[in-house]
């Protein structure tokens, strides 16, 4: 078990290092002068020189990278060009709404996808299966903002059941907090649900064709016991893997969803940084979200080893 954990940990660190190098090189591989582009069209030479200096672009490449990496290891993601505040502080101020939205999205998605995927696999080839797959492919194809505005039009403007947009902190009561997260969570949850439903169905169909399922049925087990206890348990690994890799999609979706619903989270911070061309903030958000993705997937990988001894040795 120990070597399994160490090996996974090692490869995670390598991937994080690769992410850091890619993000670092992004600004250096850009055609043209990034400092001039960040400064904008109305900037004079002094402004450009100042931005170049504050981004450290006037130093030799290897020196810049070493300095940047050392700072990164100390948890220093740089200073915002616009607010002059550390990027970590800015992200810290905005993390609550984003995590809340991600959690609600995940709950919605899994709560919808598992029953739908299992049902579709069980009734494979029937009208129910086709209807579920049609729903999944539609939810997967329409842009987040169209789904979002559609839900707002129905639930918020027409039926007045939920607020149109905005965010209320958890400290100001659970219901107002949740109320503001239902529509955004549902919007993004539908997209994520589509991905998960397709995967759940495909995996369940494969598992349901196994001999031990026939044995379970033959010995007289009820449908729900066969589906949930025998089939779903064995289909769990690919499904959870899809949840893990879907985190990247989720993070990207959060940026758009926060924008649709005016939620003051990390996504909103990123978009404001884009309009202000505040590159250190964008860079910091990319690094943090990629690290979050890598770490969640590490945790998922390690949990497999815990539940299934066969995985440890492969």
């Amino acid at each position: 078990m120990m070597t399994f954990v160490l090996r996974k940990l090692g490869s995670t660190i390598v991937v994080m290092l690769v992410v850091a190098v890619i993000v670092f090189l992004l600004i250096h591989l850009s055609p043209g002068d990034p400092a001039a582009i960040i400064a904008g069209d109305r900037a004079n030479l002094d402004d450009i020189a100042q931005i170049r200096q504050s981004l450290g672009l006037d130093q030799p490449l290897a020196y810049q990278f070493a300095l940047w990496l050392v700072r990164l290891l100390h948890g220093d993601l740089g200073i915002s060009l616009f607010t002059r505040l550390p990027v970590t502080d800015l992200v810290g101020q905005r993390i609550e709404p984003t995590l809340a939205l991600a959690a609600v999205t995940m709950i919605f998605a899994v709560a919808m996808a598992l029953p739908l995927g299992i049902l579709a696999a069980w009734k494979v080839g029937t009208l129910i299966d086709r209807a579920i797959m049609a729903l999944a492919i539609v939810a997967f194809s329409f842009p987040i903002f169209i789904i979002g505005y559609g839900l707002v039009y129905g639930f918020a403007l027409t039926w007045r059941l939920l607020p149109v947009q905005g965010y209320t902190e958890l400290a100001r009561g659970f219901w107002p907090f949740l109320q503001h997260l239902i529509l955004p969570g549902l919007t993004l949850g539908l997209v994520f649900m589509a991905l998960l439903t397709r995967m759940t169905r495909a995996t369940m169909i494969e598992v349901l064709g196994e001999d031990y399922i026939r044995t379970a049925r033959a010995k007289g087990l009820g449908t729900s016991a066969v589906l949930l206890r025998h089939a779903l348990k064995n289909a769990a690994v690919p499904i959870v893997t899809t949840i893990g890799t879907g985190i990247a999609l989720l993070i990207g979706g959060v940026v758009v969803t926060e924008s649709v619903f005016a939620i003051p989270g990390v996504g909103r911070l990123t978009i404001d940084a884009v309009t202000q061309r505040d590159y250190p903030v964008i860079q910091g958000v990319i690094l943090l979200s990629s690290f979050a993705y890598v770490l969640v997937n590490l945790m998922i990988d390690l949990s497999y080893g815990l539940f299934d001894p066969r995985i440890r040795t492969t």
């Binding site: 390598v14 991937v15 994080m16 690769v18 992410v19 190098v21 890619i22 993000v23 992004l26 600004i27 850009s30 055609p31 043209g32 990034p34 582009i37 960040i38 492919i137 539609v138 997967f140 194809s141 329409f142 842009p143 987040i144 903002f145 169209i146 505005y149 039009y153 495909a202 995996t203 494969e206 890799t245 990247a248 999609l249 993070i251 990207g252 979706g253 940026v255 758009v256 924008s259 990123t270 978009i271 884009v274 309009t275 061309r277 590159y279 964008i282 860079q283 958000v285 990319i286 979200s289 990629s290 993705y293 890598v294």
Partner: protein, 293 residues
């Protein structure tokens, strides 16, 4: 029942309408997706003949007209016809999507083939791909767009880069299997050189999954272009791409919802039709692929 399974499923020999009908019914997703996509491509390409208004010219007296007989999809805050803009926008989005699919397909296949063939290159290439895949594609594209001069080419590259690793992984996994096949070993044994080996023996067998993957990339590129536009870092605003129409419509959503609704719906239907076509072609060409993509 006549046995049709011995014949190529795409070619109803004898030309009987019944066989064609049966094929269409069995592959309903291809039929619906293909028809939808064909109609959308036709109206986009034929935009100058279908739409009577200039998609760019300002016509301020006619601003904010709701959808009606004169302006089918209404007009926006500058009096521009949303119908014209939606059709012309389809051209830009299609062009971006096809370019992204081709570029990421070619680059990804190249890297994937090499990574699959050279054991020393494999771990290096795959760790770089793992790193790229860990970065959410929207964020990566947004970062590149902030650093580059805005333009159609920049958008194409910014969407291509996050898609490449998906192709690389797929091609590599296929190559690792094909490499061990007896006919490849036989080809190596008689002294076939590497470029010929890749081109004649390995690539043809990897083509089906690559085509299916490229279809999905097309769909996701259309979506990503619209997200970049929505977030304000897409193609320069004067070009009527779906992303730009949506970016403009977004600020008007409270007063003129039609500016964002129609291009958004067109976009959704286009992505849907491409995805359906992808699913259909995947099932048709290789049912075993269903699990891997």
């Amino acid at each position: 029942m006549t046995d049709v399974s011995l014949r190529a499923p795409g070619l109803p020999l004898g030309g009987t309408a019944r066989r064609a009908w049966r094929f269409a019914m069995r592959h309903l997703t291809i039929l619906i997706g293909g028809t939808l996509l064909f109609v959308l491509i036709a109206v986009s390409v034929g935009a100058p003949f279908i739409a009577h208004y200039d998609p760019i010219a300002l016509d301020v007296p006619h601003r904010f007209r709701p959808p009606g007989a004169q302006f089918w999809f209404g007009t926006d805050n500058y009096g521009r016809d949303v119908f014209s803009r939606t059709l012309y926008g389809g051209r830009v989005s299609l062009m971006v999507a096809i370019s992204v699919a081709l570029l990421s397909g070619v680059i990804g296949t190249f890297i994937g083939l090499l990574a699959g063939m050279f054991r020393w290159l494999d771990p290096i290439a795959m760790r770089i791909m793992d790193g790229l895949m860990a970065i959410p594609s929207i964020l990566l594209a947004v970062a590149m767009m902030t650093l580059w001069r805005p333009g159609v080419l920049s958008v194409i590259i910014a969407i291509t880069v996050p898609e490449v690793p998906r192709v690389v992984r797929l091609v590599r996994s296929v190559v690792l299997v094909i490499r061990e096949q007896p006919y490849v070993q036989a080809a190596t044994a008689i002294g076939t050189r590497l470029p010929r080996l890749l081109w004649r023996h390995i690539l043809p067998n990897a083509l089906t999954p690559i085509i299916v993957q490229a279809t999905y990339i097309c769909a996701s590129a259309v979506l990503l272009e619209s997200y970049l536009g929505f977030l304000g870092v897409g193609i320069p605003p004067e070009v009527p791409s779906w992303g730009n129409i949506i970016a403009n419509g977004r600020t008007l959503v409270q007063i003129a919802f039609w500016v964002i609704l129609f291009p958004g719906a067109f976009l959704g239907v286009m992505v849907l039709s491409i995805n359906m076509l992808g699913d259909g072609v995947r099932d048709l060409l290789d049912p075993r692929l269903a699990r891997r993509l």
